[in-house]
C-alpha cells in the first residue's frame, strides 16, 4: 500500500484523447518526495529543453503535494508545472483551495496533460471514470461562471474545478489558472492550458487516503493546531500588523495597510508614497473593505482565513472570492488612491484569469510609455484620461490581445522589446523576464540580493520567509525574540539575529559574513522547497515568522505520513538539495546563466557591484554550483542525479561556462 500519496498519475493526451491511469515508481517518491520534486523530474525526463512552451509537446502537470489531503492542517496545495511562455524557464505556480485533496480522493497524485485538443474541452475526473467533455459553450466565459456552469452540468456541487478565463484562452503570458478562492498565477500557466485547448479540469473523489503511522501523525497535527492557537494569542512584536500573525498576510481581515502602501512602490514600481496612509484614508478604506468582505474563508483543512467572499454594489463581477494582496496591486499600479477601484477591477481581472501581480505592472508600464510619447493615441485609440479608466481599458485589450493588447499580453519584458523606441528603459522591475514585487529600497540587503537573484520560483514572496525583514532596533527585543524561536535551524542564525543592527558594524551590506548570508538564504529557500513538495501552505510554514511547521518537525511529519524514514539531514541535504539542483539544471538546460541572476538595477539605491559579485560567487560555491550558477557534475553525482550532469556535459553546457570564465 502507498501512504500519503495514491501511487497513481493520470496521463491525458489531449491530441489523441487517450487517457491512462499509470502507477508511479515509489523510488521517485524516495528521491524527490512529491509535488514540485516529482513534477520537476517528469519535466526533465520527458520534455526536451528546446520545446516551445505553447507547443503541444509541452506538458502541463497538476501535481498534488505529498501530504495534500492528509490530516496535516493546511496541506492542500496543487503545484502546476510546465515551461513558461513568459520566462521560457520552468514555471511552477501553485494554488491552495480544494483541488489537490479532491484529486487525491479520486485516486491520483497528478494529472499530466500532453498534446493539444482539436476543440476546446474540459476534463471530468470522477474517481476512476475520466471523460473529455466539450467546452465550446464555455468559450470566453469567466472563471467564476465556468466553475458554476460545470458544477451544474455535472450535477455535482462537491466537484472541484480549476479553469482559465479569456486571458488563458488567448495565451496571455501571465494568464492564471483559477480555482475557488485560489489561483496558480505566476508565469503564464493559464496560457499553456489555453494552448492545449483545455478550458477546465473538474474532479470529484470518494476514496480513502492512507497514513503510514497514524498515531504519530495525528499527534504532530494536534501540536500544529495547538501552536496555531497559541500564535493567534501571541502575535510577533516589532513587525507591521500584517506580518505579525500566521497565514498569508491577512489582507482580508486586517485593513491596516500602512506598511504596503507606504513601503512598496506605486505606478510602474516607481514612487513611494511615504505620507499616503493618513487617518482619513484609513477610515475610508476600512469602510470600503468592511462593506466588501462578506465572509472570511479558508482553503481545505486550514484554520487560517486568508481569503474572503467579496460582494459590493458597484462591482463589475457581482461576487467573487479574493485572497491576499490583489486588492492593492491594481490600486497601487494605477496610483488610484481608492480601494473600491481595487475591489472592482480585481474581480473583473480574476474573471478573465490574469495574474494580479503582473497585470497591474504591465498596465502601469503602458501608461508610462504613453505619458512619455512612446505609445501614442494611434496605439491607444480613445484612451481615457484617468488612470482608473485606463486600467479598465488596458485590461480589456490585453485579455483579448486586441491592438496594443496583443503586445502587452506578453508582459513588460517582451512588450518593451517589441515596442522598441526606448521602451526598454521602462522595463524597470523584471527579473528573468518576469515582473517582480514593486519594492525599491535604500541599502543593499545581501540576503535578499541572493534570493532575488537566484530564486527560480521567480518571485521573492515565494522564496523569503520566517526572518523579520528588518532588524529590531533594541537589543533586548532581539534577545527576547530568539528566546522561543525554536524554528531557527541553528544557533548561528539566532546569533545573527541578536547581533543584527539597523546601522554600524552589524548592519547591511557587509554584515552578515558570506557563510551566514548563504545559510540564511538556503534555510529560507529550503523551507519553501519542502512546502512545495508536501503541499503544505507556505502561510503556515515557510512564509510567516515563527510558523507551526518548521525544519525540526517536518521530517517527522513526512516520515509518519509516508512511512519513509527521513531525518532533517536527509530532507535538507539530500532530497531538497536534489530537487533544488534538478530545477536549476532544468533551467540551465533552457539557457539560464549567471547573467540572469540579477535584481532590477534600481531595486536598491545603494549598490555594491564587487560585493554583490562576491556574494553570488560564494553562494554558488555553497550550493555546489560553478561560477555560472550551474550545478557541477560532482554535485549532481552526489545527489543521485548523475544522468542530469551527463546530459549537461553532452550538451556542452559546462564548456560554455568555462569559456565565460576564461574571457
Amino acid at each position: 500500500m502507498r501512504y500519503a500519496e495514491t501511487g497513481y498519475n493520470l496521463e491525458i493526451d489531449l491530441s489523441s484523447g487517450n487517457i491512462e491511469k499509470v502507477q508511479t515508481d515509489p523510488a521517485l517518491t524516495e528521491l524527490h518526495l512529491g509535488g514540485l520534486g516529482t513534477n520537476a523530474r517528469i519535466l526533465w525526463d520527458r520534455v526536451p529543453p528546446e520545446t516551445d512552451p505553447l507547443a503541444p509537446e509541452n506538458l502541463l502537470i497538476f501535481g498534488t503535494g505529498l501530504l495534500a489531503g492528509t490530516p496535516a492542517p493546511g496541506a492542500n496545495r496543487t503545484i502546476v508545472t510546465t515551461y513558461s511562455p513568459q520566462t521560457l524557464l520552468m514555471a511552477y505556480s501553485m494554488m491552495g483551495g480544494f483541488f489537490a485533496p479532491e484529486l487525491k480522493y479520486a485516486g491520483y497524485d497528478k494529472v499530466i496533460f500532453s498534446g493539444r485538443s482539436p476543440e476546446l474541452v474540459y476534463i471530468w475526473i470522477n474517481n476512476d471514470k475520466v471523460e473529455i467533455k466539450d467546452a465550446s459553450h464555455l468559450q470566453g466565459k469567466g472563471v467564476v461562471e465556468t466553475e458554476e456552469l460545470i458544477k451544474q452540468e455535472l450535477e455535482d456541487q462537491d466537484a472541484q474545478v480549476a479553469s482559465i478565463g479569456l486571458a488563458g484562452e488567448n495565451n496571455v503570458y501571465y494568464a492564471s489558472v483559477e480555482h475557488a478562492r485560489s489561483s496558480a498565477s505566476r508565469a503564464g500557466i493559464g496560457a499553456v492550458m489555453g494552448s492545449k485547448n483545455l478550458k477546465a479540469v473538474a474532479v470529484r473523489g470518494t476514496k480513502d487516503l492512507n497514513i503510514a503511522r497514524p498515531e504519530k501523525f495525528i499527534e504532530l497535527c494536534n501540536e500544529v493546531l495547538d501552536y496555531i492557537q497559541w500564535r493567534a494569542d501571541n502575535p510577533v512584536q516589532h513587525v507591521p500588523p500584517i506580518l505579525a500573525g500566521l497565514g498569508s498576510p491577512q489582507e482580508m481581515a486586517i485593513h491596516d495597510e500602512a506598511w504596503h502602501t507606504t513601503a512598496f512602490s506605486w505606478g510602474n514600481a516607481r514612487y513611494r508614497r511615504k505620507e499616503f496612509w493618513t487617518e482619513e484614508v484609513e477610515d475610508e478604506w476600512f469602510r470600503v473593505q468592511d462593506g466588501a468582505v462578506q465572509r472570511l474563508i479558508s482553503c481545505y483543512n486550514c484554520p487560517m482565513k486568508c481569503g474572503a467572499i467579496i460582494a459590493y454594489p458597484t462591482l463589475e463581477l457581482s461576487k467573487y472570492m479574493m485572497k491576499c494582496y490583489s486588492k492593492l496591486t491594481y490600486v497601487m499600479g494605477a496610483m488610484a488612491d481608492n480601494l473600491e477601484f481595487g475591489f472592482r477591477i480585481a474581480g473583473l481581472a480574476q474573471g478573465y484569469g490574469v495574474d494580479s501581480y503582473t497585470a497591474p505592472q504591465v498596465m502601469a508600464f503602458a501608461i508610462e510609455l504613453y505619458e512619455n510619447g512612446i505609445l501614442t493615441d494611434e496605439d491607444l485609440p480613445d484612451f481615457p484620461a484617468d488612470n482608473e479608466g485606463r486600467f479598465f481599458y488596458l485590461l480589456e485589450k490585453i485579455v483579448r490581445r486586441e491592438g496594443i493588447g496583443d503586445v502587452l499580453a506578453n508582459g513588460v519584458y517582451w512588450a518593451a522589446r517589441q515596442i522598441g523606441g526606448g521602451a526598454e528603459a521602462y522595463d524597470s522591475n523584471t527579473i528573468k523576464k518576469h515582473e517582480q514585487i514593486p519594492i525599491k529600497l535604500g541599502m543593499l540587503n545581501p540576503v535578499f540580493f541572493l534570493m532575488h537573484s537566484t530564486g527560480e520560483k521567480i518571485n521573492i514572496t515565494q522564496i523569503e520567509g520566517q526572518l523579520p525583514q528588518a532588524p529590531f532596533p533594541e537589543k533586548e527585543d532581539r534577545e527576547e525574540f530568539v528566546k522561543n524561536w525554536f524554528q531557527a535551524p541553528s544557533e548561528n542564525i539566532k546569533d545573527f539575529f541578536v547581533k543584527w543592527e539597523p546601522r554600524g558594524e552589524y548592519a547591511f551590506p557587509y554584515f552578515p559574513d558570506f557563510q551566514t548570508a548563504c545559510e540564511l538564504v538556503e534555510w529560507q529557500e529550503t523551507m519553501h522547497y519542502i512546502d512545495d513538495t508536501t503541499g503544505i501552505c507556505a502561510g503556515l510554514s515557510s512564509f510567516p515568522i515563527k510558523p507551526p511547521y518548521h525544519i525540526h518537525n517536518l521530517p517527522t511529519l513526512i516520515s509518519a505520513g509516508t512511512g519513509l524514514d527521513i531525518d532533517k539531514d536527509e530532507l535538507w541535504n539530500k532530497i531538497i538539495k536534489r530537487n533544488r539542483c534538478l530545477l536549476r539544471a532544468i533551467n540551465t538546460r533552457r539557457g539560464l546563466r549567471r547573467k540572469d541572476d540579477r535584481p532590477p538595477e534600481d531595486h536598491w539605491k545603494k549598490r555594491f557591484p564587487e560585493h554583490e559579485a562576491k556574494l553570488l560567487d560564494e553562494y554558488y560555491k555553497f550550493k555546489g554550483w560553478n561560477s555560472e550558477g550551474i550545478p557541477t557534475r560532482e554535485t549532481l553525482r552526489s545527489l543521485d542525479l548523475d544522468h542530469v550532469g551527463e546530459d549537461l556535459e553532452k550538451r556542452g553546457i559546462y564548456d560554455d561556462g568555462q569559456k565565460d570564465e576564461d574571457s
Binding site: G69, T70, P71, P73, F98, Y105, V144, E148, Q157, A180, R181, T206, K207, D208, L209, N210, I211, P214, E215, F217, I218, L225, I228, Q229, A232, Q294, R295, L296, I297, S298, C299, Y300, N301, C302, P303, K305, I309, A311, K319, Y320, M321
Partner: protein
Amino acid sequence: MMGKKTKTVKVINIDLEKCNGCRACEMICSAFHASEKYSSNNPTRSRIRMIRRPLEDIYLPIYAGEYTAAECMGRDKYVIDGKEYDECDFCRASCPSREAFKEPDSGLPLKCDMCEDDPPQEEPLCVKWCLSDALTYEIREEEVEDEEEEEQKDLTQEEMERSIKALADRYGLDKAANSMARLLKKE
C-alpha cells in the same frame, strides 16, 4: 410512580456566521472513524458534511442522524436572510434522496456518535478541529422521567440492525439474507 432522573445532553452549537468552510470537520471525522484510528481519511465517509455554496455565502455543517428508508413526499425551501436553502440542506437523515451520510463503497448509513468511540474524546473531534469556533461543545443536565432510561437499547445491537435494515432496503431482503448466508458458510 415514576421517578425523575438527570440526563446528560450533549450539544454541538453551530454558528454559521463563523464557519470558514475549510472542511477540517469532515476530514477529522472520517480519520477518527477509520478502522485503526487515523489510518486513513475520506470526507465522503464523514458523519458531518458541509453544505457549501460559497458565492451564495452558504456554509452549513450538518450532522448525520437517523437512517430513513424513504424520502419525503414533498420538499420545502427556506429563505433565511435572503439566502435560499433546500429543506434537505438541514436534514440529518441518511436518505435515498442524496449521497451524503452513506459509506461510499457499501452504501451503508452513517450516524454521528459524538466521538464516544473507544477511547472517548473530551469533545467531538469536529469541534476540536474547528478553530474558528463555528462548532462548539456543551454538556448540560436535563431532568427526565426515569422510565426513558430503561428504554435505552444496547447501542451496538441497534447499530447493527440499522445497517442490516439499510442493506435490505438497498438490495432487497432476500439478497441481503442470501449474502449473509453465504458469509456464514465461509466462516
